[in-house]
C-alpha cells in the first residue's frame, strides 16, 4: 500500500502500533486439518468424561472440562481466527474484553453463591 510508506516510522512511536511489522505467514491447509483433528479429539474426551459416573462425582470433573474447553477456545482463536499471526492490536482488542467478561462471570457466580465462601456471617 502506498500509504504504508508515508506513515510514521520512528522507533519511539508507541508500541501498539508498530510491534507487528509485516503480516506473518498464515498457517497452511495441513495445519488447519490437524487443528480440526485436535479439536475433535478434545470434544470426544469431554463427552467421554461426561459418561464416566465415577469421574463426574469427583472434584476434578468441572476443572477438567473447563480446562479442555478453554483449550479448544484458545486453539480456535489462535489459529482459525489467526490471532497468533495477526496484529498485536487485535489481541488487545479481544483479550481485554474477554478478561473483563470472565472476571464479571466469576464475580457474579460468587455473588450468587454459586462459588461459595462459607463464613457463618449474615448473608
Amino acid at each position: 500500500m502506498s500509504a504504508d510508506s508515508s506513515h510514521g516510522t520512528d522507533a519511539s512511536v508507541d508500541a501498539v502500533e508498530h510491534a507487528l511489522g509485516a503480516e506473518h505467514e498464515h498457517p497452511t491447509w495441513s495445519v488447519y486439518w490437524k487443528i480440526a483433528t485436535i479439536l475433535t479429539v478434545i470434544t470426544v474426551i469431554e463427552v467421554w468424561c461426561y459418561y464416566l459416573p465415577g469421574f463426574v462425582s469427583t472434584a476434578f470433573f468441572v476443572p477438567t472440562l473447563l480446562a479442555l474447553s478453554a483449550a479448544k477456545f484458545v486453539i480456535v482463536v489462535m489459529f482459525y481466527m489467526h490471532l497468533k499471526y495477526d496484529h498485536k492490536l487485535f489481541r488487545v482488542l479481544f483479550t481485554g474484553p474477554l478478561i473483563i467478561a470472565m472476571i464479571a462471570i466469576t464475580a457474579l457466580l460468587f455473588l450468587f453463591g454459586k462459588l461459595a465462601i462459607r463464613t457463618g456471617l449474615l448473608t
Binding site: 508515508s6 516510522t9 502500533e17 470433573f61 462471570i105
Partner: protein, 226 residues
C-alpha cells in the same frame, strides 16, 4: 527510516487505504465488535449459571423430575449425544471456513493436483460452511421442538427461560452468519471471489469462528457440567 520530515498526506488520499496502523477499518471494527459480544454472551451465560438449580419446578437439565401434582415423570432434558453431534458439526464448519478463506486468498495460485483444486475452491468451502451451519441450526430446531414436547418451553421455569434465551441468542448469531455466508457465496458465483475480497471473507470468518467459540463455552458450561 529517513529522519527528515515526511511529506504530509494530501487529504485527497485518505479515503484510499491510508490508515494509521495499516490495518483496514473494518477489521478493527469487527474485533471491537467481537470484544463487545464477549460481554453480551458473558451476561447470558452468567444468567444461565446463576439460575441453574433455582427453578421451583422441573423439568431440569440433568436430573429427572416428578411433577407432584400429576405424578408425571420428566426425563432429564438435555440430550448429550445429539448435542455432541451438533457441536462437532459446528467445529467442522469452522474448518470449512478457514479453508474457504484460504481458497479466496490463494485464488490466483496455480492449482495442479485434484487436491489443490478441491482445497482451492472457495465455493465448495463457503457452501460447506453454510451447510454445516444450517445443519447445526437444524439440530437446534430439533432440540428445541423435542424439549417443548417433553414439557420444557421458554415459559416453563427459570431453566427454560435462561436456556432458550442463551442458546436462542447463539442460534440467532448462527443464522445471521449463514445469511452472510450465502450472500458471499452468491457473490462468488456471480463474479468469483479473489484476493481483493479476502478482507470481506476474513471479517465474515472472524465472526463465524467467534460464534463457534461461544458454542464451545456453551457446550461445556450448559451441557456437560452438571
Amino acid at each position: 527510516m529517513a529522519t527528515t520530515a515526511l511529506p504530509s498526506i494530501p487529504t485527497a488520499d485518505v479515503g484510499h487505504g491510508y490508515t494509521t496502523t495499516g490495518l483496514p477499518h473494518r477489521k478493527v471494527a469487527i474485533w471491537a465488535f467481537i470484544g463487545s459480544e464477549c460481554m453480551l454472551f458473558a451476561s447470558l451465560i452468567s444468567t444461565y449459571l446463576i439460575y441453574k438449580g433455582r427453578s421451583v419446578k422441573g423439568p431440569f437439565p440433568h436430573e429427572p423430575w416428578t411433577d407432584p401434582s400429576t405424578g408425571h415423570v420428566f426425563k432429564p432434558i438435555l440430550n448429550i449425544p445429539v448435542t455432541s453431534c451438533s457441536t462437532f458439526v459446528l467445529l467442522m464448519s469452522s474448518l470449512a471456513m478457514v479453508l474457504a478463506l484460504a481458497a479466496v486468498e490463494n485464488r490466483d495460485k496455480p492449482k495442479v493436483t485434484l487436491g489443490d483444486r478441491i482445497l482451492g475452491s472457495s465455493r465448495l468451502w463457503l457452501f460447506m460452511t453454510a451447510l454445516l451451519g444450517t445443519t447445526f441450526l437444524g439440530f437446534q430446531a430439533f432440540e428445541f421442538t423435542s424439549f417443548v414436547h417433553e414439557g420444557l418451553s421458554i415459559r416453563t421455569n427459570l431453566f427454560g427461560s435462561s436456556f432458550f434465551t442463551l442458546t436462542g441468542f447463539h442460534g440467532a448469531h448462527v443464522t445471521a452468519g449463514v445469511i452472510w455466508l450465502l450472500t458471499m457465496l452468491a457473490i462468488d458465483f456471480k463474479r468469483g471471489l479473489g484476493p481483493k475480497d479476502a478482507l470481506n471473507v476474513d471479517i465474515m470468518a472472524l465472526y463465524w469462528h467467534f460464534v463457534d467459540v461461544v458454542w464451545i463455552a456453551i457446550f461445556t458450561l450448559v451441557y456437560l457440567i452438571r
